[in-house]
C-alpha cells in the first residue's frame, strides 16, 4: 500500500507519459464530440441578398406509358431546358420580395426565410402550389421535418405532405444535403387505384444561404378497372414520371 501511495505521488516517466496521452485523447475526443454536435445541426434558411439576382437553370423530362389489355403506348419527351432568374427586391416583415422572371413573364412572391410564401399577388389562393419548407432554428441531421396541406378538389379533401431530412453537412464545401419526399393521397376506390409521390434531394449552400442544386422525380400511377357484381376486369394502366433538375448558375450582386 505504501508503495502504491509513493507511486501516485512520484510517477515514473512511463506512467506520466501514459497519463498525458490519456488526457490528450480525452481532450481530442471531447473536441470531436463537441464539433460533431455543433456540425450535426445547422440552420437552413434562405438568405437572399436584396438587390441581387440569382440565375437558375431548370431541366425537365417527361416519360409516360399507357397500357390497356394487350395494347400499349409510351411517350418520352426530350429534355427541356429553361432558365429563370430571381430578382430580390427587398426584405420586409420577415419576407423577401422576389420577382421571378421566366420566359419573359414575371411573378412576384413574398418568401419567408424557411421557404413558405406569405403572399403571391399574381396567383389565386386556390391554385397556389404546395412547397417544401425548412424547420425554424437548427436542423439536426436525420431529423424529419414534415409539412402538411389539404387540397380541395370539388367536395373531396386530398391530404398531401412533404417530408424532408437533413442527410449530411459538408463543412469544407459549405454545403448541406437535404433529402425530400412528397406524397398526395389521391382519391382511390375499388376500380381506380392511384399513387403519386415525389422523391429528390437538394444541396443547400451554407455560405450563400440558397439552394445550389436539386433533382427530383415525380411518379404517378393510375390503374382503372370495371366492376360489375363479382366480375372485375382491369382496363387501363397509366404510368407517368417527370424528372427535373435545378442548378444555380450565377449570382449577380
Amino acid at each position: 500500500m505504501v508503495k502504491t501511495a509513493t507511486n501516485r505521488k512520484n510517477p515514473s516517466p512511463d506512467q506520466f507519459f501514459i497519463g498525458t496521452k490519456t488526457v490528450v485523447f480525452s481532450v481530442l475526443l471531447l473536441f470531436l464530440l463537441t464539433s460533431s454536435v455543433l456540425f450535426s445541426q445547422v440552420e437552413i434558411t434562405y438568405k437572399f441578398k436584396p438587390g441581387a439576382t440569382y440565375e437558375y437553370e431548370f431541366t425537365s423530362r417527361a416519360l409516360a406509358s399507357a397500357s390497356g389489355l394487350s395494347f400499349s403506348s409510351s411517350s418520352d419527351s426530350e429534355t427541356i431546358t429553361g432558365k429563370f432568374a430571381l430578382k430580390i427586391i427587398d426584405f420586409q416583415e420577415d419576407s423577401f420580395i422576389v420577382d421571378i422572371y421566366s420566359d419573359g413573364v414575371s411573378v412576384r412572391r413574398y418568401l419567408r426565410q424557411n421557404g413558405k410564401i406569405s403572399g403571391a399577388p399574381g396567383e389565386s389562393g386556390m391554385s397556389a402550389p404546395f412547397f417544401i419548407s425548412f424547420p425554424s432554428g437548427l436542423w439536426q441531421i436525420n431529423q424529419l421535418h414534415r409539412v402538411n396541406r389539404n387540397f380541395n378538389i370539388g367536395n373531396t379533401l386530398i391530404p398531401a405532405s412533404f417530408d424532408s431530412i437533413l442527410r449530411s453537412v459538408n463543412t469544407s464545401e459549405q454545403t448541406a444535403q437535404i433529402q425530400f419526399q412528397g406524397q398526395a393521397s389521391l382519391p382511390s376506390d375499388q376500380v381506380r387505384k392511384k399513387q403519386f409521390s415525389i422523391n429528390g434531394k437538394a444541396v443547400y449552400n451554407l455560405a450563400e444561404g440558397v439552394l445550389q442544386q436539386a433533382e427530383w422525380i415525380s411518379d404517378y400511377k393510375f390503374s382503372f378497372a370495371n366492376k360489375e357484381f363479382a366480375v372485375q376486369r382491369n382496363l387501363w394502366n397509366f404510368d407517368k414520371s417527370l424528372a427535373c433538375t435545378l442548378r444555380l448558375v450565377n449570382i449577380k450582386e
Binding site: 421571378i100 411573378v107 398531401a160
Partner: protein, 309 residues
C-alpha cells in the same frame, strides 16, 4: 267532323311514332357497347384531369421556382385515337346492319318493281298539265330510281356489297387495334352477360367475313337502265333534233315504227311439211303476178271474212 278528323290524325301520328320507336329499338346494335366505352373514357379522363391538378401543384416543390409546371407525358393520346377509330367502325357496323336489316331481304325491290310508282307518280302532274310530265318514261324511271336511293340514303357504289363495305371498314384498324377492339368486346360480354348486343356485333362481322350479306339489296340498287348510255343517247338525240329537224323524216320514221314487224318471235310455228309447202308456194309466188283483187272462195266453202251476211 273536324274533331273526328283531329282525333284520327292524332291516333295515326301516335301509331307512326310508336312504330318508329319499335323499329329504332330493334335496330340498335352498337349503342350499349359504345356507351360503355365512352363512359369509361369519361371517368378515366375526369380522374386524369383532377389528378393532374394536384400533381402540377406539387411538381415544383421550391417556392422560388416559376409557377408554370412542366407538362406530364400524354401516352393516353394513342388510346383516344384508337378509340376514335373504333367508334368509326361501330358507326359503320350500325349503318351496314341497318341497311341489311331493312332492305337485305329484297322485298322492297320486288314491291318497287311490281307497283311501278315511277309510272303512276307522274299521273297527277299529267292531269294538271305540268311540263315535267312530258319526260320520257325511261328517263323518268332513272330519275325516280336515283331519287329513291337518295331518300333511302343508299349509294350503289358503296352499298352494292355490304360485306365488302364492312370488311373494308374493319381492315382500317391495325392488328393491334383490332385485338384491342375484340378484347373490349370480350370484357363487355364478361361484365354484362345478359346483353347480347356484342355477340350480335361479333356474329355480324364474322358472317360478313365468310359470305356476302343482304344480297337482296343488290336488286334494289341495280339501275333500271345503263345510266351513262341512256344519258348519252338522250344527249345525242337532242343534238340531232336541234341541228336538223325534219318533220317529214320523223313522220316516215313513225310510220316505220307503226308497221308490224315480222320477227322470228312473231312468225307462227308450223310443221316441217307445211314449211316445205310454203317454200314451194313462195317460189311459185315469185313467178306468178301479184293478184290485185281478192278471189271468191271455192264453192261449197264458207267465207270466213264475210261478217255482214
Amino acid at each position: 267532323m273536324n274533331k273526328l278528323h283531329k282525333a284520327f290524325a292524332l291516333i295515326l301520328l301516335a301509331f307512326f311514332i310508336f312504330l318508329s320507336q319499335i323499329s329504332f329499338a330493334q335496330q340498335d346494335l352498337v349503342t350499349p357497347f359504345k356507351l360503355w366505352l365512352l363512359n369509361n373514357e369519361a371517368r378515366m379522363l375526369s380522374s386524369l384531369s383532377s389528378d393532374e391538378v394536384i400533381i402540377n401543384r406539387m411538381s415544383l416543390p421550391f417556392s422560388f421556382m416559376p409557377p408554370a409546371p412542366p407538362k406530364m407525358g400524354k401516352a393516353e393520346e394513342k388510346f383516344w385515337e384508337t378509340h376514335r377509330n373504333i367508334y368509326t367502325i361501330l358507326d359503320e357496323i350500325q349503318q351496314t346492319y341497318n341497311i341489311a336489316r331493312r332492305y337485305g331481304n329484297g322485298r322492297l325491290a320486288i314491291i318497287i318493281k311490281q307497283a311501278r310508282p315511277e309510272v303512276w307518280s307522274i299521273i297527277p302532274l299529267q292531269l294538271n298539265g305540268v311540263q315535267a310530265a312530258i319526260i320520257p318514261v325511261t328517263e323518268n324511271r332513272m330519275i325516280f330510281h336515283s331519287t329513291l336511293l337518295l331518300s333511302l340514303q343508299l349509294q350503289p357504289q358503296r352499298d352494292l356489297s355490304l360485306s365488302g363495305r364492312l370488311n373494308k371498314a374493319i381492315s382500317r384498324l391495325s392488328d393491334e387495334e383490332n385485338r384491342l377492339f375484340n378484347e373490349y368486346m370480350s370484357n363487355f360480354s364478361a361484365l354484362y352477360p345478359n346483353d347480347q348486343s356484342v355477340s350480335a356485333i361479333k356474329s355480324f362481322i364474322q358472317t360478313a367475313e365468310r359470305r356476302e350479306i343482304a344480297t337482296g339489296l343488290q336488286e334494289l340498287l341495280r339501275t333500271p337502265f345503263n345510266a351513262t348510255v341512256l344519258q348519252a343517247s338522250f344527249a345525242e338525240k337532242q343534238q340531232i333534233d336541234e341541228d336538223n329537224y325534219d318533220p317529214l323524216a320523223e313522220l316516215a320514221k313513225l310510220a316505220e315504227l307503226t308497221q308490224p314487224r315480222e320477227t322470228e318471235e312473231n312468225l307462227p310455228v308450223e310443221e316441217p311439211e307445211a314449211e316445205i309447202a310454203t317454200e314451194e308456194e313462195g317460189e311459185l309466188a315469185e313467178q306468178a303476178p301479184t293478184p290485185t283483187t281478192l278471189e271468191p272462195p271455192p264453192p261449197g266453202t264458207e267465207d270466213l271474212f264475210n261478217i255482214w251476211d
